[in-house]
Every structure is written in C-alpha cells, then in structure tokens.
Symmetry: C2
Subunit: 402 residues, 2 copies
C-alpha cells in the first residue's frame, strides 16, 4: 500500500498560466517569439572562449577544478573591486561576492533579508525573475514608480527590508531611472535605513548616450571615513548580457556586512560558483574579451531596436504608446485603451504566430493588464518586423471583438 504523499510547500501553488504558455511557445513552428529576454548567440566570441576554457583548466587547475572559496576566487573579487571603484567608491575584495549568475544574487538577498511576510519596496513594473526568486519567502510588496512626478522615495522605502530597483533599462520597461530620481533614492535609502538592491544586468547596454552613474556610485558621495564602501546599496551585475550567459557568473558589490550575510546564504545554496567559470570570467575581464565583444553587441542591438521601433511606428500607433529605449533589450508598449487586457490578447497573438510578455507577470499584485514587453535582441530585423505586423493583426482582431 502506498500512502498519500505530503504536499509541496505552499508557494508552489502560486502558479501562473502565462509561464505554461511560454513553454508551449517553444514548440510552435514559425512562431515569432518577442517574449523572451535572451542575448543573440552570434555575438559570443566562441574561439576566444574555447581557448580561455582550455587555459583555465590547464594553467589554473587549482582554481578551475577544486572547490573555490564560497565567496569566489580572490583574484576575480579583486578584479571586480577594481572595475567598479571610483575615487569616492572605495572597494576591496570584502565588498565583492561572486554568484552563480545574476539570479542567484536576488535569491541570496531574499534568503538573507526576508523573514516570512517581510516588505519589499519594488520599482514597478518589476522583473519577473526577482518575483520568482522571492516568492518562496512570501513577501509583501509596496510598488514605487521613480518616473512619476509624485515619486516620494522616503515614503517608498520607509519600513521595507529592502528597496529593489533596475535603474538601467528596467526589465520590463526598458526605461532609465533619471539622475535626479537616482540621487533621491540613495538619500532615501540612507534616511530610512533601508537596503537598496540595484539590479544592473543591462548597464553595459547604452546604445545612444553616456551611462548614468549607478546608485552605488551616487551613494558613495555620502560615505564618511576612509574604509571600504559601507553604504546601503547592494549592486548586482553579471556577464550574461555583455559576454555570454552560459558561464553563470554574476556578482554582488555591497557593504562587507551584507557580503558576509550573503556568503552564509550562498554556502547553503550551492556551496560555491564553478571555479572554471570564474577563471574564464577573470581572464575575459582582464584580457579584454569582454571589452572587445561589446561594440559588436551594441551595434547589433541598436539596429534591432531601430527595426522593431520602426515597425511599431508603421503598424501599432492606433492602439499602443511606447518610448524608444536608449539601450537595454526591451520596449514597453502601453495600450491607449485603459481597459485593454493583455493576458487575453496573448491568446490571439499566439493564434497569429507571435508571442509577447503581458504586463501582469511583472506586477507583484498580478493586476496590470494594460501593457506588453517586446524583446528586440534575439530576432533578426525582418523577423522583428514580421512579429510586429502579427501583433497589429492580433490587436485589431482583439479590439474588434470588443
């Protein structure tokens, strides 16, 4: 006799049907998939990385094949401290944790900071992966909107365990948080005592403008004393969008007490990040592979952004509004009709052969049904245009149905 099994943890009941639809999308022939957020594989420097991989093992077997320290290879931590340091932002190895991709930084922040029911102040709409990472800890959310005129960062952050922001080309909106709002947010983080997680996977992807200073750079001006950075900003970066995602190397730059807490959390999560990946990442950063790959990535993505937005201009104006992003991977289209339901529209889109991301999945409350996220990095220009044409047909049919 076999008895009934125990239930899974409660958070696993919190499914969304959209994810299931995305998974199904992979097997539909001729579908144009604008829903994802993947880099373009033709930008990967394959031969150079093959040689770096061989050398990592052959010349540094101790680093590449043994257990690296939980917090990462010291040389890689030093290299990242040097990369991000400015005269005001003093960083040492103790400010740096290596993570298994950017996603792990989010998971570890949740593990270190969230008791059940804790409050997160989240720039909204918010990255779906962050919501996924924190769901098992059942947080509550207070959304904030840094681009609105009435944005009050003190009210946004007060009482939260941490604030969560994606200042550069937010996923999903592709928008920048402006310099003034950035400065206001770091002041508020200090005034309220709240940690401020700055998630920056897209910071290297400025196509048309000089990069704005990071929250952490701005915050460093408030530091007193000569020690390493000890402020409230917890910066997260990764190689996934500026080199390749398959190495799964990300990093957290933060106050040493935060790095120490995240390291305890990492020990019980995966012990350490692949030493082989870390050694390749170090050599790619220091040997210039990352810097050499970037111009090609930027020109390809800029052209694709232009192609997507040109097609949108030609086909979508009757129903949708958007801003052309100056970088990143996404365009955020908001329906002119506030009664739009993009969850329902998605069914029609799939029938027309185009997949897009509806806004509900980026809303911690799951309620926003008015917008869509469109990705422009993975498809060639003609396919982007075809996808937009299909989205226009789908929108017209959906609206006609009433």
């Amino acid at each position: 006799m076999t008895a009934r099994r125990p239930a899974f943890a409660r958070w696993l009941d919190d499914k969304n049907e959209i994810t299931r639809m995305f998974l199904a999308a992979g097997s539909i022939p001729n579908l144009v998939n604008l829903a994802g957020g993947l880099p373009e594989p033709s930008t990967y420097p394959v031969e150079e990385l093959a040689e770096l991989a061989r050398r990592a093992v052959a010349e540094h077997p101790g680093d590449a094949l043994s257990y690296p320290p939980i917090d990462g290879l010291p040389a890689l931590r030093d290299a990242l401290a040097a990369k991000y340091a400015t005269p005001a932002l003093r960083l040492t190895r103790d400010n740096v944790l290596i993570t298994s991709g950017g996603m792990q930084g989010l998971d570890l922040a949740g593990k270190a900071l969230l008791d059940p029911g804790a409050l997160i102040a989240a720039q909204s709409p918010a990255y779906l992966g962050a919501l996924d990472a924190w769901r098992p800890r059942a947080p509550s959310y207070r959304p904030f909107f840094p681009d609105r005129n009435d944005f009050d960062p003190d009210a946004a952050l007060a009482g939260a365990q941490f604030g969560y922001a994606v200042p550069n080309f937010s996923n999903p909106t592709g928008k920048l948080v402006g310099r003034d709002a950035r400065a206001a947010m770091v002041c508020a983080a200090r005034a309220t005592g709240t940690w401020l997680v700055e998630d920056d996977p897209y910071g290297a992807l400025y196509f048309d403008a000089a990069p704005l200073p990071s929250l952490q750079e701005l915050d460093a001006a408030h530091e007193t004393g000569d020690g390493p950075y000890d402020g409230p900003v917890v910066y997260m970066g990764s190689l996934s969008k500026q080199l390749v995602p398959g190495l799964r190397v990300g990093w957290v730059i933060a106050a040493p007490e935060m790095i120490a807490a995240l390291t305890v959390a990492k020990q019980g999560s995966d012990m350490c990040t692949s030493g082989l990946s870390q050694r390749i990442a170090l050599d790619a950063l220091e040997g210039g592979a990352v810097a050499r790959a970037l111009p090609g990535i930027l020109s390809l993505y800029r052209a694709r952004r232009d192609a997507l937005c040109a097609a949108m201009d030609a086909h979508l104006r009757p129903w949708w509004d958007w801003e052309v992003p100056v970088g990143g991977m996404f365009v955020w289209a908001v329906a002119r009709d506030p009664a739009m339901n993009t969850d329902a529209l998605l069914d029609v889109c799939m029938a027309e052969g185009v997949c897009v991301s509806p806004s509900s999945v980026f809303d911690p409350a799951g309620e926003d049904r008015r917008a869509l996220r469109l990705n422009f990095t993975l498809n060639p220009e003609d396919k982007l245009a075809e996808g937009v044409r299909r989205l226009a047909v789908a929108t017209e049919k959906f609206v006609a149905r009433g």
Copy 2:
C-alpha cells in the same frame, strides 16, 4: 543622517562558533587539518579536462555558452537516466534534474517541501551541509539511527515532509546503511507516503566491497505499471567526489512530479546550471574520463584510510572507539567516556596543531559532544599519522585536566 538598518533574516542569528574556528584553521602554519571533506587534487585528470573544456565551447557553443534549459541539457539528462536505469528502475529524462553541485539539490528539496516548521526525519548524525541548506526554512528534526537494533522506519518517517539518508559512507560517520535497513526504509517511505531523500555523494567510493543497491534501486521493485519511476525516493548524486568538484555539477533522480517542483524552485534560485560545466560533465561521463579516474582515486584513498586507521590503532585506543569504513572519506571516533566534550577538546587539538570536526555540528539539536569526524582523503599518509599523534596528545592532556 543614516538610519539604523533592518535586521537580517532570523536564521542568520543561528551562528556556530565551530565554523569560525575552522575558518581560522586555514591560516595556522603547520596545522594538520583532518576536519574538512575535500578530495585530493592530484587525482584530477587535468589535461583531459582542459581538452574537454576547449571542445565543449568550440564544438558545442549553443550548449556551453547560452542559457541551458532550467532542468539541464537534454543529452546529459538522458545520459544520467541511462546510467542509473536497471530493468526494474525505468528512468527517462523526465526523472532527471541537473543541479549546481550536490548542495543545490538539498537546497531545492527544502525549497520545494518545507513550509516553516515542517518536520524532517534525518539519519543521524547528519551532514552539516544539509542542516545549513535547510536552516533558513526553520524545520524541526526527528533523528533516526538505521544501525540500531530498535530502528523502526515507519515510526521514523511517519508525518515527516521527507526522510533524509546518506546510505553510502555517511558524512560524518563513514558507515554504510545495511541492505536490510535499506529495504525497510523504502517500504516505510511507501507505507507512510513520505518522500525519502537519498543523498549519495560517496556512492562511487567503495574500496573493499561490492556496492550495495541504492534505496531507489530497491524501491523500484515496488513500482507497478510500465511508466518511468514514480516512487518516493529522491536520489541525489554529483561529480564532485568521483571526478572534480569545481565544475559544480550534480543531479537529482526522482518521480517526474518531484523533478517538476524542483525545477520551479531552481528557476528562482540560479535559473540554470552552467552549460559549459554540463557539457564537460556529459563528455566526461560518456567519453570515459570519469571511469578512468576512479581506480586511481580508490587506491589512493584506500591507502590513506589504512594509514589513518593504523595510526589510530597505535595511538588512540585508550580513549576512542571506531569502525574501519569500507569506503568514503571519513572515520568516526566515539569517545569511550560518555562525558567527553569534543567541542572543548577542539581547543586543545588546535593548540597541538590538529583540526578535527566535533560531533555537535552534525547533530540537528547541536547536543552530541562525544565524537569526532576525521577525514583521510586530503592529506598524505605521513601527515595523517602526525595528525593522529597530535590528537592523542591533545586527548591525553584534555582528559588529564579532568
């Protein structure tokens, strides 16, 4: 003005001083460290892995450099299903999840199965890393002892979210769970409906005897129907102890519904495991690198186990009892005096220049002070003997103090 920061999550208060002492051990000159659990780096097939790493990137850039599927490269999942399948144990890709090292499997099981306060039935003493992985979810523990005459597996497992066992060369005791106890445990898992996590990092390390069947192999005899394995055993394996730990590749073999739940948990943990590491693991398994490395590992570890146990026989008999393990990485020494306090003894050991693992860290309740774990895989034979001599001196001094 900077306000006070929010507290870290409560589980982070649950520090132990032993870990701090272990960390300090690394910087003490001439210390003999018998406390760890690391493989011997000279067993790593460096040149072969360097070539596998190069080929993984050059010949399979899509696998190695892009985001692999959350649940792992299909070819690696297929290879592992084929490796573990028997006529009774039917396995397909849907039974297999690739994890970022064995530790991640434990973290994901906790994430998928533990709401706060849930009960774990744990073979005791238990692996410290498993206790670390589950600590953030604040479980309660019911210890069980499969080698005792009064072991009642139904009573052990009933009402638990899952049972946790390390049947092959348990960390910390190095003991095998016998065949009868294995069979009784899988029957109990079915009778009580409890999941049974079979953690098997050391299963390849049988030095002197033929391997016993795994819990999952034994459980497969209870399966009805012709479908893939759907029983309660959640088997966890890894490459760390049979090839190299630095790739961070582990796996879970379980019922498809469990694999699906763990995959959702993995998505929000690190999205996916390094494709480069997965590709190397696949080629090392299929190309024979793993099989070729094993005989050298076994003969080296066998000789070191013999050296450690010979030195123990020569020096430790007045105070300690132990069994010579037939494999694995550890010997478990239990004090003849039930009033021994190995936490306190550790201070004396450190002063004598030897570091060992006291039993308290392997007890979910933190109370067992009578035993020590000694590792024999990392040090050469003369150093093992010297470490044991120092442990004898430390024990004698400690006992003399009264």
